[in-house]
């Protein structure tokens, strides 16, 4: 009995906080899954529009039930594990891809804060002071999903695709990091929340504070790297079907394949949100002073409006992702590496030096 009592003060878990964060995690993960689902629908509709055809329009009004039908189809299909594959790694591959895709949502500030009674609930799962580095860490883990899946399939096309994918992601990670260093020189903080709050301080209701105004080149480089990191056309070399059949997920079927395809769309959504957060003010509502508005309408409505605003910004980027896919043809592998190492990295370095010089000059 005494033992039981003694344990309690040590296991000081704040259950209210735990519950709050758990709820937030569930909302964010479900939200990104639903967005990813409907991005597949949007992709097919937009592709249809760009190619002068209709796209999926039969399941439900305007075909909006199509993603559900696709998901059901993937679940119902027979799940095949090739006999010559290494079984556990074969299962682990898509799981890792999905895990790393979902994990990044943890450090993104999805909104300011809700006020429920006395309690202030931040709309961010974890405000760690190394937020951007956390995203880089998770992105560099994302390679393993592709590599392990490709190797475990025991298929030479899969292996080649996996190695291509990994070297592409590593190469573009460098340029991505360098393009962000210039941004970090301006913000002086790695916390995503602080970066958003700094942008909200600018003139015109925050619009003039957006980092895109100060870092246009950095943003462009980051955008290109995001395409490469998500394996999207024009950089979808790992699944170049005319060279590698179906790429690293050639041997996969059923929901394991679904996980791989889905992880790509979640990655797209998350990187769109990261771009909106870092360069386009995050949950800042442009041309509106949030503090004044909160006095009129109450903080909760303004916080939710901010979240809607962030989602609209990231949906615009999702549209850009899809638009580019159906417009620009795929790069050749040597062109990809050429662009990454000989053009992106020098540009990012130049951007870094110029930004550093200007920061130094203005401080004096």
């Amino acid at each position: 009995m005494t033992n039981h009592l003694n344990l309690l003060p040590y296991l000081s878990i704040d259950f209210a906080l735990l519950f709050e964060k758990l709820l937030l995690i569930i909302v964010v993960v479900t939200g990104s899954l639903v967005v990813a689902m409907y991005t597949t629908y949007a992709e097919r509709r937009i592709a249809g529009f760009l190619q002068d055809r209709r796209g999926p329009n039969r399941a439900g009004p305007f075909g909006i039930l199509q993603p559900l039908a696709d998901g059901l189809k993937l679940f119902m299909k027979e799940d095949i594990i090739p006999t010559s594959s290494s079984k556990w790694l074969f299962i682990m591959g898509p799981g890792l891809a999905m895990l790393t895709a979902v994990m990044t949502g943890a450090v993104i500030p999805w909104g300011s804060a809700l006020k429920i009674g006395e309690k202030v609930v931040s709309l961010q799962i974890a405000d760690i002071n190394i937020g951007i580095l956390f995203i880089f860490g998770v992105v560099s883990m994302g390679v393993y999903g592709i590599m392990i899946g490709g190797w475990a399939s025991n298929n030479k096309f899969s292996l080649l695709a996996a190695i291509r994918g990994a070297s592409q992601i590593i190469s573009y990670e460098l340029a991505m990091g360098l393009s962000l260093i210039a941004l970090l020189m301006l913000t002086g903080s790695l916390s995503m929340k602080t970066i958003v709050e700094q942008q909200m301080q600018g003139g015109w209701g925050g619009f003039l504070g957006w980092n895109i105004i100060y870092q246009p080149l950095g943003f462009l480089l980051f955008l290109i790297c995001a395409f490469a990191e998500c394996n999207r056309t024009p950089f979808d070399l790992p699944e170049a079907e005319n060279e590698l059949n179906f790429g690293y997920h050639q041997e996969y079927s059923s929901m394991k394949l679904g996980f791989y395809l889905f992880a790509e769309y979640i990655n797209m959504f998350i990187s769109s949100t990261v771009m909106a957060t870092l360069f386009f003010g995050g949950y800042d509502i442009p041309f509106v002073n949030e503090a004044n508005l909160a006095n009129h309408w109450g903080p909760n409505i303004v916080a939710l409006l901010g979240t809607v605003c962030l989602l609209i910004k990231s949906f615009l980027f999702l549209f850009v992702f899809i638009w580019v896919r159906w417009t620009i043809p795929r790069f050749r592998y040597d062109q990809l590496m050429d662009l990454g190492w000989k053009k992106m990295i020098p540009l990012a370095l130049a951007n870094m030096v110029i930004t550093g010089a200007i920061v130094l000059w203005l401080n004096k």
Partner: protein, 165 residues
């Protein structure tokens, strides 16, 4: 034991287990994957010591970049467990002796350190935070820092020269 100490011992157990699995795995790819798990658990320890920057850099550099290169090489060489040549028995013996000596030295060195009693250090101490680390690196130790960057540069130049041959 508090929650953090439970986490500490859990991470320790996983780290030792996966390190052993790394050594005993027949398949080199499995070894690399176990090694990645070791890096994760050690990063967890950094986090418990409130060294957030070290935590994430360990993950990005070791687990994210260096291990990918390991995996690359092993996958391309396509080593099979059976085709690996038998190693010399003397080599095994030498390995055991040198490894054991290193362990002895490490245990002797760590036996009496002050941090022995302090397993976790949550929400205290600034030493591992990025702001403090930057100040120390670029103010107190700026010359060694720059010299080590020259060392990296020479390594890069060397790699380029070897690659061009």
């Amino acid at each position: 034991m508090g929650t953090t100490e439970v986490i500490f011992w859990f991470l320790t157990a996983v780290a030792v287990f996966s390190a052993l699995m790394m050594v005993f795995s027949k398949n080199p790819v499995h070894s690399v994957l176990w090694l990645i798990l070791v890096f994760f658990t050690i990063s967890g320890h950094y986090l418990l010591m409130n060294a957030q920057f070290l935590f994430i850099v360990n993950l990005i550099v070791y687990a994210g970049a260096i291990m990918v290169l390991f995996l690359f090489v092993i996958m391309l060489m396509n080593m099979e467990g059976d085709s690996e040549p038998r190693k010399n028995q003397w080599m095994t013996l030498a390995g055991i002796i040198s490894g054991g000596t290193l362990m002895l030295v490490l245990v002797a060195a760590l036996k009496d350190t002050g941090t022995q009693r302090q397993l976790v250090q949550m929400k205290e101490g600034q030493i591992g935070l990025i702001h403090h680390l930057g100040m120390v690196l670029f103010k107190d130790y700026v010359v060694p820092f720059e010299i080590s960057s020259v060392l990296f540069l020479s390594a890069m130049v060397g790699a380029v020269i070897i690659g061009k041959k």
